[in-house]
């Protein structure tokens, strides 16, 4: 099963506003792109046209891994507002 299909199984309540913000200036200088590899939801990617990093916050599993592996501090990450985000039914 593809990762997008797996994420679609989860109960989610999405806010219109993203709880993850990226500092594109820092991202532009980053070579490793740890976020792309570490995010278990595969939500980080590089938009080849704009050359900007994109994060699909709507599938976020709220583990916080991206915030920790981004040692350059480009990821500003907070919990989604109350009642928003993933709602685990098994956990």
């Amino acid at each position: 099963m593809k990762i997008e299909e797996k994420l679609a199984l989860n109960a989610m309540k999405n806010d219109r506003e993203s709880h993850i913000r990226l500092d594109q200036k820092i991202c532009a200088a980053c070579k490793e792109r740890y976020c792309v590899y570490a995010c278990p939801g595969h939500l980080y990617s590089l938009n080849e046209e704009t050359n900007e990093m994109v994060v699909e916050y709507a599938g976020c599993l709220e583990c916080g891994t991206c915030k920790i592996v981004c040692v350059y501090n480009a990821v500003s990450w907070e919990y989604p507002k109350g009642e928003f985000g993933v709602q685990y039914r098994c956990g």
């Binding site: 990762i3 989860n10 989604p80 039914r89």
Partner: protein, 429 residues
């Protein structure tokens, strides 16, 4: 708004345990939970070892909706295309009191929160705590959804990422060296099929840990637990180890590769994937713990760094419950005295030091140094698999003696300077 006795941030096991005890002592307690119900943001592997916490919350442990009591431990050592498996079980694990249970947090935490409310505490879901309130240099409540909620004491039980501990200046920023990512998939399956496949009696469970090429030499491993009518299957991956690996590997692909292995695929065959979750785990042990209290505030559970990787056993939930109960005890005493100063709340740390929670954290203080040795995930699994390959293989050529084969494999993998150093490190655990 009048000051509450205690506001608890986070409706996980630490927060609920604290609230349960405080409400039972007649204190006015509110638990603020950001999910739509307690448990909805929480993930476990998961198994809980109940023996250490029976005395802390006897009635909760006795009645909790756990999944299955574990009667069989399976350890699978993997090479790229080979594996060795060891099973251990003891007859006494089949009878009460059981040592450990598999558990799903959405179910357990929600049930627990109902028990907390029966005791008279308020558990309010859908509330994210955004900030702390301060008064005379002490924590004096929280801010949630723009509303100020003053309290004599705040118990921060807001999980491994603990923004509250950070805001209170109790911990430094999170570093990848200290954390692992855990990914878990839950597969729905008929209970009879679980019992049939694993050779279990009704209600009995198995735990399977996987090490070796699961993580391609990176720190971590795999796990599988049998629930009542589902299987929890996943991997744990050290963050720094993944960052340093070349070529770079995507963690979700590692998860796919894990479930595709025949050693795992055979258990989940025909079962339906129901949920895909992820969570971080502190791997730093006692060294990764923040300061546990300050004036007006106590930190408990994952927020306080209470998780311990002891190699084949990984623990956290029982520490969460114990630290929650002890935080409640310290808070209760401080409220009796009308003194929530840092000095007064220092009782919490003293109580922890006398408990199994801090004693275990101290005993295994060096376990990470032992476990983060990459040879553990490469050389040793290869040694075991090569040795067994030598023993079991018959070819057209005459077979060398078994002692000779064992000596050859040991010489290649173990009997060298690196192996000697590993032996010395192992003694620290």
């Amino acid at each position: 708004m009048d000051k509450l006795d205690v506001v608890v941030v986070g409706g996980g096991l630490a927060g609920l345990s604290a609230a349960y005890r405080l409400a039972a002592a007649g204190r006015q307690v509110v638990v603020l939970e950001r999910g739509d119900a307690p448990g909805s943001k929480n993930v476990t592997g998961g198994r809980i070892y109940v023996q250490p916490i029976r005395e802390f919350l006897p009635e909760i442990v006795a009645d909790a909706p756990f999944e299955r009591h574990v009667v069989r431990e399976v350890l699978t050592v993997m090479d790229d295309d080979a594996s060795a498996q060891m099973e251990y079980g003891h007859g006494k694990w089949r009878s009460e009191p059981h040592m450990s249970y598999t558990v799903l947090r959405a179910r357990f935490d929600r049930w627990f929160s109902e028990k907390v409310m029966e005791k008279g505490a308020f558990v309010i879901p859908g509330r994210r705590v955004d900030d702390l309130l301060w008064e005379d240099g002490r924590v004096a409540g929280v801010v949630a959804g723009g509303e100020e909620i003053p309290a004599h004491i705040v118990i921060a039980a807001d999980g491994a990422l603990s923004f509250m501990a950070e805001k209170a200046g109790l911990r430094t920023p999170l570093r990848p060296e200290n954390y692992a990512l855990a990914i878990k998939e839950v597969y729905r399956i008929d209970p009879a099929a679980i019992e049939d496949r694993f050779g279990l009696g009704q209600g009995e469970g198995a735990a399977n840990l996987f090490m070796g090429s699961v993580t391609r030499g990176m720190f971590g491993g795999g796990f599988l637990y049998t629930n009542q009518d589902s299987l929890s299957v996943g991997i744990v991956l050290g963050m720094r180890s993944q960052m340093d690996a070349r070529p770079q590997v995507e963690s979700h692909e590692l998860m796919d590769a894990f479930t595709a292995r025949p050693e795992v695929a055979r258990w989940i065959k025909g079962a339906q994937l129901e949920e895909y979750s992820a969570h971080i785990i502190s791997e730093a042990g006692a060294k990764g713990m923040p300061a546990l209290y300050t004036g007006g505030m106590l930190v408990a559970g994952d927020a306080a760094g209470f998780s311990l990787n002891m190699g084949v056993t990984v623990r956290g939930m029982e520490f969460a419950i114990a630290s929650g109960v002890l935080a409640a005890e310290a808070a209760n005493k401080a409220l009796d005295k009308g003194d929530a100063s840092k000095e007064s709340l220092g009782l919490y740390e003293r109580l922890l030091k006398e408990s199994f929670a801090m004693k275990d954290m101290e005993t295994f203080r060096h376990s990470r140094e032992v476990l983060e040795n990459p040879r553990l995930f490469t050389v040793y699994p290869k040694f075991i698999c090569s040795l067994l390959e030598e023993i079991f293989t018959i070819t057209e050529k005459p077979k060398p003696g078994l002692y000779g084969s064992a000596k050859k494999a040991a010489k290649k993998y173990l009997l060298n300077w690196e192996g000697f150093k590993d032996f010395l490190t192992l003694r620290k655990m």
